[in-house]
């Protein structure tokens, strides 16, 4: 099948999934017990006020109407207004997202590079000590609660050795990076590392990295196990394939054989796994953000749960869902592009 048809079908597949997801979240939030409006008020002595709010949030309408409003709103990119301070949930989420994105990207980079490196190392000898050690390492990292690892890092590298900061995204005294400013036009990504560079301020960039180090290392390490395992097994499979032996028989160097032949083919499954693991990663991000007081979406959800801010929780969860689906879509398309057998 051609790339075009593949892309189209893949996108078509994504749409119903997102819809199911939306519906699921809606049901979870609306159908499960608890009256959001009641929960909002300190004193519930003024039924008029509660009615007014119920109306304002459209909760006085029948469920199916609410559902359609909600879906329609989503298409307008409107996730409703926070029940705690009536401000736009969309705006709140977008303001929190860059922090999460930055954390996610760096964690993923760390996880994948650790995973691939160790996976390849392990694959250099099945059942040898090195292999087993790496394997066990992978299994152990998988079994560590991410927030526990985070706290340990905070204690060791933050409190103990004073190497790295353990909270926030930049030193308190430092102004937030402004991003790119050319004359009147202003462009910033909200990713402090990138904005720092755009601003041409290397110091900020470095600081941003320092503050990013522990959180992303924590999350990346916990996630690396999956990639180690996957790379390892794929490497073993590809390393036994004829074309690898053939390459050796042509006298190509081990590096070329391992990376150019074995890994290049073992990498595609790893790529798909990246797509899948992104979901896990965002889950872990919630806990990591809470541990490192990282001002991202994860902490947003946790805060809102404490406020019982239904619209916000719903919005954030949906946003996560859509984001993940989009990422996995992109990854799959990338896969299709990278794998010549699908491309064409």
């Amino acid at each position: 099948m051609t790339l075009r048809t593949y892309v189209i079908s893949r996108i078509l597949l994504t749409i119903p999934m997102i819809f199911i997801l939306l519906t699921m979240v809606f049901l979870v939030i609306r159908v499960l017990p608890g009256d959001p409006v009641l929960l909002h008020f300190e004193k519930q002595e003024n039924p008029a006020a509660m009615e007014e709010m119920r109306h304002r949030l459209g909760l006085d309408r029948p469920l199916w109407v609410q559902y359609f409003d909600y879906v329609a709103g989503l298409f307008r990119g409107d996730l409703g207004e926070s029940m705690q301070d009536y401000s736009s949930v969309t705006q709140q989420i977008l303001s929190a997202f860059p922090a999460t994105l930055e954390l996610a990207i760096f964690s993923m980079i760390i996880a994948v590079s650790i995973g691939i490196f160790l996976g390849v190392e392990a694959s250099k000898g099945y059942g040898k000590t090195r292999d087993n050690v790496i394997r066990v390492f992978g299994i152990v990292t998988y079994a560590i609660p991410v927030f526990f690892l985070g706290m340990v890092f905070q204690m060791v590298f933050g409190l103990g050795l004073h190497w790295l900061p353990v909270g926030l995204r930049l030193p308190p005294r430092m102004d937030l990076p402004s991003g790119l400013n050319v004359g009147s036009l202003h462009f910033s990504t909200g990713l402090y590392t990138i904005d720092g560079l755009l601003e041409g301020n290397v110091y900020k960039f470095v600081e941003a990295l320092r503050y990013l180090a522990l959180p992303s290392l924590t999350l990346g390490l916990v996630l690396s196990g999956v990639f180690i395992r996957l790379t390892r097994s794929n490497m073993f499979e590809t390393l036994r394939l004829d074309y690898v032996t053939a390459a050796r028989a042509r006298g190509l160097s081990e590096t070329t054989v391992t990376y150019g032949y074995a890994l290049r083919n073992a990498f595609l499954p790893v790529l798909t796994m990246m797509g899948l693991q992104f979901a896990t990663l965002l889950g872990g991000a919630i806990l990591t953000e809470t541990t490192f007081s990282w001002p991202g979406l994860g902490r947003y959800i946790v805060d809102r749960i404490n406020f019982r801010d239904y619209t916000a929780i719903q919005g954030a969860v949906v946003f996560f869902g859509i984001f993940v689906s989009v990422v996995s879509l992109v990854v799959d398309l990338l896969y299709a592009y990278l794998d010549p057998r699908i491309r064409l």
Binding site: A246, A249, G251, L252, R341
Partner: protein
Amino acid sequence: MVSQPLLSVNGLTVEYWARRGKVRAVEDVSFSIDKSETLGVVGESGCGKSTLGLSLMRLVPYPGRIVKGKILLKGRDVLGFSASEMRNLRGKDISYVFQDPMTSLNPVKKIGAHFVELIRAHEPRVSEKDAVVRTRKLLRDVGIQSERIGDYPHQLSGGMRQRVMIALAIALNPSLVIADEPTTALDVIVQAKILDLLNALRDTYGMALVLITHDLSIVLERSDRIIVMYAGHMVEYARSEDIYRNPQHPYTQGLLKAIPNVELDEQTLNAIAGSPPDLLNLPKGCRFWPRCYCAKEKCREEEPRLTCTGPDHYVRCGKYEEGE
């Protein structure tokens, strides 16, 4: 007269160390090849002929290893080579054509890339451009339009891929090419073509050829000498016409009988009864006796030695041991 052979193998023994014990896939094999001559290696699957082929390039897959023997290429002991020396040797002095062309090319690399990579790995000073030029010529030599240089393996037919493999094998015109069942994965018409191509190239490039196959008929007319292997042993080693006219080992005779003979209108095709032994628990004595029509008490007791029964004719069978 003592002219040094291109490759001479002496008492080569290869073992696989599986969890359940050691397996001798190749045991005490000795032979030699001269420049631009063809050696056929024949035997049922699992007789160790592929292992033999690979071991010549020290590519025996884990957990196998060469435990005994000597491999002399132009007088230099290959087993003594360092890793880098081996790399230089592989593909440049000896090259290998694998059984299944479908899986022998890197699916994510273009055809051309394979060549360029190979050439520049061995001749780093060659520029990309020149490498490409050479590649086009090589492809033409093996009968593929050079436009295919930009294709991916999966875009080529099996036969074409095998041609590519061959082209790769001869790219640095090595003195020896080992072809391991180069045609079994292909359909009959293509088979002949590929084999002829190999022969043609052998003549033009003047290289020696080791042709490994399970099909005696293929090697009979195409090779100068033939090794017949059974259960890791070299049971007979002789010039092909000797093998054809006077096969001495019962197994060889069996193989010959199994070839459909066109001249005879009266067909008596009788395959050898039974199946090769499990290398993990070999029968005591001669490894072939359970299937041998003329097995004697002695065969069950002691393992026969390789005996010379004529000019360049060696057999491993009790019948021909002196004292008979």
